[in-house]
């Protein structure tokens, strides 16, 4: 096993608002050297760093919009999100929960701060990742996986070092609850100060770590602070993270999907023609209907 070295540590870009409820830093695909091809199957990562929303009677959020061709994964660290979609589905993503939505052939959905959270206001911290689908699954039926915190695979680190919460794929012998279309691993490393965890993924898997809380030392070498994204090289397999203070780190690693990518707004397909079809289908009401 060789060490997977750091390729770069990305600082959070200037934040922008998605709708009026999500104040996000984009890392994928607009971050330096982190375009869709480089990061596949992770084609998009918006990070709402911890932000205090004042109380609001009208829940803030983002209105009805479509998706086709990929999955959206929403990870709630602070605050709560309510969501609804055109197939009648909906729910609440609470702190520590993950919602894994396979948009595939297409859904309309909307996401808002959950009502009670909105009324009280408070810290809000979320990640939204888009996971690409291979061509053969892009037009499959949409589905949801609502994964509550208590369903995560958990690996206890020795000496009260903390917990690795596995969302998808595995960590050592612990398997995450999310089912995926291509091989990938996703987990939250919740580390107590001084604890160290070692991860191992195939060399060619695109791999990164987002520091949600605290600060970490990677491979005993470089420090990554809160809200920074560590991108690893596509060489070597193992890397370590050590918590310099209590830390939470999102770890993602996936086998690249080596297919052409055509993307426009909320549609990610393989060809420009498929994008035009997606726009036409959406205009012609084929994604269903959802009230604002």
């Amino acid at each position: 096993m060789n060490t997977k070295n750091i390729e770069l540590i990305a600082s959070p870009r200037a934040p922008h608002f998605v709708g009026d409820g999500f104040r996000v830093h984009n890392f994928i695909p607009s971050g330096f050297r982190m375009d869709m091809e480089r990061m596949s199957p992770f084609i998009f990562l918006d990070y709402n760093s911890k932000f205090n929303f004042p109380p609001s009677d009208k829940p803030k959020g983002v209105g009805v919009h479509p998706h086709r061709g990929f999955e959206t994964v929403t990870i709630a660290y602070k605050g709560k999100v309510a969501h609804h979609d055109s197939s009648g589905g909906g729910g609440i993503i609470g702190e520590g929960d993950v919602q894994w939505m396979t948009a595939a052939s297409g859904v309309l959905h909307k996401e808002y701060h959950e009502e009670e959270f909105s009324r009280k206001g408070g810290d809000f911290q979320m990640v939204q990742l888009w996971v690409n689908l291979p061509a053969k699954d892009k037009m499959s039926k949409p589905k949801y996986q609502a994964i509550s915190k208590d369903r995560m695979g958990t690996y206890q680190l020795p000496n009260d070092g903390g917990t690795i919460e596995v969302i998808a794929g595995d960590f050592k012998d612990v398997i995450g609850p999310a089912s995926t279309f291509t091989p990938l691993h996703m987990s939250n490393a919740i580390l107590n100060k001084g604890a160290k965890a070692e991860f191992s993924f195939p060399a060619e898997y695109n791999t990164g770590a987002l520091v949600i809380e605290g600060s970490i030392k990677v491979n005993d070498l470089e420090v990554a602070n809160t809200d920074h994204f560590v991108l690893f090289e596509n060489a070597g397999e193992t890397f370590s993270i050590e918590a310099l203070e209590n830390a939470v780190v999102l770890i993602i690693s996936g086998e690249p999907i080596k297919e052409p990518i055509a993307a426009q707004g909320p549609f990610v397909m393989n060809t420009k023609q498929e994008i035009l079809e997606a726009i036409n289908d959406f205009n012609m009401g084929k994604f269903g209907y959802l009230e604002d």
Partner: protein, 193 residues
């Protein structure tokens, strides 16, 4: 810089290649945040705006506060309250940015300078003006006579990917129908195609 604007001048006003280099001396880009107003009722519109990047809407508010959208303008569109600019009369309209945008404000002086670079500026400008009048006539006719479905079909023909960038209520406002009617139209379309 000015990529769309330059292309626009080459295509619509036949500005020649060597003169393109002069464009940055003639005009300035303006960065506008989403939610910014370029015009409000009572003001005299001073500019015609070329949208280099982003999205705007021109609308009025009725007495009960209901918004009526006359026009959207995204990349490569010209946007203005032409009456107010030409007759120097107070506007009745709002122009508001829907997205963070880049635009190029043009006044008489800039048009005069562009005219110097364009061999048939008056003729080309006239074509654009008549195009605008044709568009307005079609829109009035649709609002007076066409079904909601027909209006919607014309809307997606004119602005094929706009619905990816605006909320549904703005579509309904532009079409002069309720959100519920818009929902019915989409449902009918989906079940009939």
């Amino acid at each position: 810089m000015f990529q769309n604007f330059t292309q626009y001048l080459i295509e619509k006003f036949h500005v020649k290649e060597p003169d393109v280099a002069l464009i940055p001396e003639l005009v300035q880009e303006k960065y506008i945040s989403s939610g910014t107003f370029l015009l409000k009722p009572g003001e005299i519109c001073q500019h015609t705006f070329f949208v280099e990047k982003g999205l705007f809407r021109l609308y009025s508010l009725s007495e009960n506060g209901k918004e009526h959208i006359l026009q959207f303008a995204s990349e490569n569109w010209l946007l203005s309250d032409r009456d107010s600019v030409f007759f120097k009369e107070p506007s009745k309209f709002y122009i508001e940015a829907i997205e963070d945008s880049i635009l190029i404000p043009m006044d008489e002086e800039i048009f005069r300078k562009i005219a110097e670079l364009s061999p048939n500026f008056s003729k080309n400008n006239e074509i654009l003006l008549h195009n605008h009048i044709r568009h307005l006539n079609q829109r009035i006719n649709l609002l007076l006579s066409a079904s909601a479905k027909k209006r919607y079909m014309e809307f997606i023909k004119l602005y094929p990917d706009l619905q990816l960038r605006i909320p549904q209520w703005m579509v309904a406002s532009y079409l002069g129908i309720t959100p519920e009617s818009l929902s019915r139209v989409r449902r009918d379309l989906a079940s009939n195609t």
